[in-house]
Symmetry: D2
Subunit: 296 residues, 4 copies
C-alpha cells in the first residue's frame, strides 16, 4: 500500500504507527530516531518535534507508514529500547488502526453529546463509543436515539464513592480507553481520576484560568468581559487546573444577557471539545509539567 | 407580564411583536414610529435603526412587548398605515409567539442536518420542522432518528421541473414558511426560487465571492489560501450570488490537505448556517440591493 | 450641510452632537427623546439604545446632525432638562467638532506609543496630543520624532505622590481631557485616578480577569494556555479591575516561548488599545456597575 | 555559546544556520539530513518537515546551532552536496546572523510604512532598511522622521520602464535583498519582477482571490460581505495571483460604510504584512506550484 492511498494523511492514517517520545534535549535525537526507522524500512509520513527551551526538554511525534516497515508495534518495543535508553526517553508506540474506546459522561446539557454522537455516527472519528454514563436521566433519549447504551448513577454526598466504584467497574467491563466529560456536572474523586491519568477530557465553559468553578457565564457577565471562551483540558485532582488541550473564544457585547452568553457559548464548547477529542484520538498530545504539547 | 420575565430578551421574546421597516431616510422617522408605539401603550424592548448613507435609506427593527400594547398584530396594520404612508415605508409586523415552519433540504453531507435537528430537538429554536426533503436517500436514517418525515425526489435533467413541482406541493401542504438548504447539492429553478423570495437559506462552503460554484475546498487548496470560509445567503436566480446573511472563516495551513479542509470546514459551515437561521427566525434580516441588514 | 457630505458617518461626524443618556427603564423614553429632537429640527444620524434587563436600566446614544438643529450644545441643556427630569436621566451632550485633548503615559515599551502617534499624525483620529509623560527617559526619542513634548517624572516610593502632583499640574496646564496609559508601568494613586474618573484608559497585556498584575505572559506560559489576550479598561482604584472597554486575543501554541508571546502580544495590545481610544473619542462608552456599554 | 542563551529560539536565533530544502518524497530523507548534521557536531534547534501528498513533494526547514557545528555556511555547501544529490534536492543554507537588506515601496497610504519603520527602529526585526522608494512625494516626511532616505520616481505610462531601470540601479547600489510593497499603487513590469523572484512581498487589501484588483473595499461593500480580509503574497507577473504568504480577516457589518471598512482594514493590513515580512526574514517560506509552505 503506497502513501498516496491514505487520503487524509495528516488526520492520521490507519495504516501507520505513531511514536510519541520525550526526553532531555541534546544533539542527535532526531538523527538517531529517524535513522532507526529508516534502517527498518519505515517511511516517515509525518514528523514533528519541539524543544521546550526553558525546560531543556525534547518532544517528538513520528508517524510511520505500516507498508514496508519491518517492525510491527510489538516488534518495535525491544528493537527501539536501546535507542530510547541512550536518550533517557519516555515513549509510546501505537498502532493507528486500533480504534480507541471512549465513554461519555453527561448531566443535563445535550449540545456536546449531540455533537460527539453525530461525528461518531457519520464516521468522522475512528472511535468506538460503548456507553454513556450520567448522574441524571435527562439525556437518556439522546443516547437511545443514537443506539448507545446509557447508564445512570445518581450521586449524593453519601453514595458518591460507591457509585464511582460501580462506574469504574462498568468502564473496566467495557475496556474503556478514555473518558469525555461532555458537560458532566460532577466532581470526580482523586481515586477515580488516578485510574485514567491524562485520559479524562473535560470541557469547561470559560477561558481558563478565568472563571474556574461554577457558573462561569454569570461571572463573565458580572465582570463585563467582551469575549468569553471554552477550555478543554485533562482532568486532574485540582478542579479546572489540569493541562489545557484546546481553547477558543467568541466575541460578546453589552447586548448579551447571561442567557445569550450561555446559548452562544454552547457552539464554542462543542467545537473546542471536538478538537480536543480528535487530538487525543490521533495521539497528538504529550503532557509535561501540567502543560500540553499538541502536535498539529 | 412584565419585561423581566422574558429571560432571553435580546434573543426574541415570545411575548412581543417585531416591526421591520425601511424607507427613504429623512428626519423624524424614529420619533414618529416610537411615538405611535407609546401612544398605544407599547413598551419598546429593543430598537435598532440603520441608515445606509450611500443609498439614503433608513432601516429599523423594533420589538414591542405584548403586555400593555393595545394593538395586536391585526389591529396594528390599519392603525400604523398612515404613519407608514407618510414616510413611504415598506414594513412588516410579526407576532413573535407564532412558530415559523421550516423545511430542510439535504443531499449526502449530514453535519448541518445533525446540527439543525439537535438544536430543534433540544428546544434552542422556536421553530417547527415538518419535513426534510432530498434528492437522494442517504440521510433518511438521520431524519428518522429525530422523528422527522423525509421525502426523496431524485432529479434528472429531464424530470427536474416536474420533481420541483411535487416538492412545491409538498411544501404547500405543510404550510412551510422557509427552506434551509443544508448542503443540498441541486440548483433550484427560478420558478421555485420565486415562490420563496428571501425565504430560502443556503450554506456555501467558501468565503464568497471567492470560490463560488463546485468544489470550493479543492479550489482553495489549488490557490494556496491560508484561510477558508463559509457563507450563508438567501438564494436568488444567480448561483451563489444572493444576499449574504452570515460568514465566518477558519485558519488553515500548508499542512492541510483538501480532506483536512473539508473536515475542518464542516464545523464552520454548520455554525454559520445556524447563526443565519436564528437571525431569520427572529426577524432580524432586511434585504436591500442584494445586501442584508442583520440587526444584532 | 447635508448628511451625505459626512463621509464617515458612523465614525462620528464632526458636524453633529452626541447625546449619551441612561436612566431606569420604562416605556416611552425613546419616543420622548426622539420627539424632542424632531421638534427642534434635528435629524438623527445614528441612534442606539440598550436595556440591561437584569438591572432594568436604559442606555442610549443619539447622534444629531448640526445642520437644521435649532439648539446648539449650550441651548440643549436647559431645553432638554425637563425631558431628562421626567425619566430621572443621567445625560451628557457633546459637540463632536470639539477635539479632545489626550495625554499619553509610557515607560519602556514603545509599540503602543508608535501606533498612537502614527494614527494621530496621519489624521486617523480627531484628537490633540499636547504631551507624553513618563517615569523613565527611554522613549523620549520616539515622542521627539513625532514632535510631541515629553515630560519625565521618575518615581520612587518616597516621591511618588509629589511627582503625581506635578503631573496633575502639567495635565491641568495643558487642559487634558483624558489620559492613555500606553504600557505605563506605574500604579496611580487613588487621588490621581479620582481626578479623571472614566477618563484614564489602560492596556493590560492579558485577557482579564485572567493574569491580572505583573508578568502576565509569564503566567500564561506557566499555565499552558492556548490563547493570550489584551484588555483595555478604565482605571479604577482596584488594579486591573476597572470597567473593560475592549478585549481581543491571539492564538498561541506550545511552540511559543515567553519571548514569542510577548512579541506576538504587542500587535494585539496596540490594536485593542487603539479601538478603545477610538470608542472613547467618539463618546460611545457608558459605564454602569463597573461594566461598559460600548455603542457600535 | 549554549542553546539556552538564545532567548527567542523559535523566532530565529542569530547564532544559527537555516537549511531550507525540498525534493520528491521518498523514505530516508530526514534520517539522511539529520545524520549528516549530527556527524558534523550540529545541534538541531528546530526541525519542521512537510509532505505535500498530492504532489509527492517533501519540504524541510532545519535550524542548526552555530556552536559545535564544524561546518560554516561556506563549508556546508560542498559537504552537503552529495546528500542533496542523492535526493534530487533543491536547497539553500543561510547564516541567520547576516542581516537582510529590505527596501520599502510606498505611494500615499502611510499605515504600513509607519508600522514597519516602528518595528525596525525598536529592534523587533533583524533587518536593514537602506531606503524607501515611491512614485509620489506624500510620505517623504514619514521616512525622514525615521531617518530613512526616500527616493521618488514618478511614473507615467511613457517613462515607466525607464523609471524602473533607475529603481533597479538604486536597489543594486544598496545591495537590496528583498522589497516590500507597502501599499505601493503601481504595477511592476515582468522584467522588474524577474529580478527579485519570490523576493517582492505585496499586501493586498482583500481576502484573495476575492476582490483582486482596484478598490477592493468598494467591491466588498457592493457585494455585502460580512468579513473583509488582507493578503500578503509574493509578486508574480499575474496581478494579485502570486503565492500567498499570510492572510487574516476582520468582521464587519451593515453598519460599516466603505470608509469604515478602509479604516478598520488598515489595522488588518499592517499586521498581515508584518507577519509575512517576519516569515520571509526568518527563512520560513518555500514556494512550490504557486503556493507557499510557511514553517511555523
Amino acid at each position: 500500500m503506497s502513501v498516496s492511498t491514505c487520503s487524509a494523511r495528516r488526520a492520521g492514517c490507519a495504516d501507520s504507527f505513531v511514536l510519541l517520545a520525550s526526553c532531555p534535549d541534546r544533539p542527535g535525537i532526531v538523527a538517531a530516531v529517524t535513522t532507526f526507522i529508516a534502517e527498518h524500512g519505515g517511511n516517515i509520513l509525518d514528523l514533528e518535534q519541539h524543544v521546550a527551551v526553558e525546560d531543556q526538554m525534547f518532544f517528538m511525534r513520528v508517524e510511520i507508514a505500516r507498508s514496508g516497515f519491518s517492525l510491527g508495534a510489538a516488534g518495535f518495543v525491544p528493537a527501539f529500547a536501546p535507542v530510547a535508553a541512550r536518550f533517557s526517553m519516555a515513549w509510546d508506540i501505537r498502532d493507528a488502526s486500533t480504534r480507541q474506546r471512549m465513554a461519555i459522561a453527561v448531566t443535563r446539557e445535550p449540545h456536546c453529546l449531540y455533537d460527539i454522537l453525530a461525528r461518531w455516527q457519520s464516521g468522522e472519528w475512528a472511535v468506538e463509543i460503548p456507553l454513556v454514563f450520567a448522574n441524571r436521566d435527562d439525556l437518556r433519549p439522546v443516547a437511545a436515539q443514537f443506539g448507545i447504551p446509557m447508564f445512570v448513577f445518581p450521586k449524593t454526598p453519601e453514595n458518591r464513592l460507591e457509585q464511582e466504584q460501580r462506574e469504574l467497574e462498568l468502564l473496566d467491563t467495557h475496556r474503556i480507553d478514555f473518558i469525555v466529560l461532555a458537560r458532566y456536572m460532577q466532581i470526580l474523586s482523586p481515586a477515580f481520576i488516578a485510574r485514567y491519568p491524562n485520559r479524562i477530557l473535560n470541557i469547561h465553559h470559560s477561558f481558563l484560568p478565568a472563571f474556574a468553578g461554577a457558573r462561569p457565564y454569570h461571572a463573565a457577565y458580572e465582570r463585563g468581559v467582551k469575549i468569553v471562551g471554552a477550555t478543554s483540558h485533562y482532568v486532574t485532582d485540582e478542579l479546572d487546573r489540569g493541562p489545557i488541550i484546546e481553547q477558543d473564544v467568541i466575541r460578546i457585547s453589552h447586548k448579551d444577557s447571561v442567557a445569550d452568553m450561555i446559548r452562544k457559548g454552547r457552539d464554542n464548547e462543542k467545537i473546542v471539545l471536538a478538537r480536543a477529542i480528535r487530538a487525543h484520538l490521533e495521539h497528538r498530545i504529550l503532557v509535561y509539567r501540567n502543560r500540553t504539547v499538541v502536535f498539529g
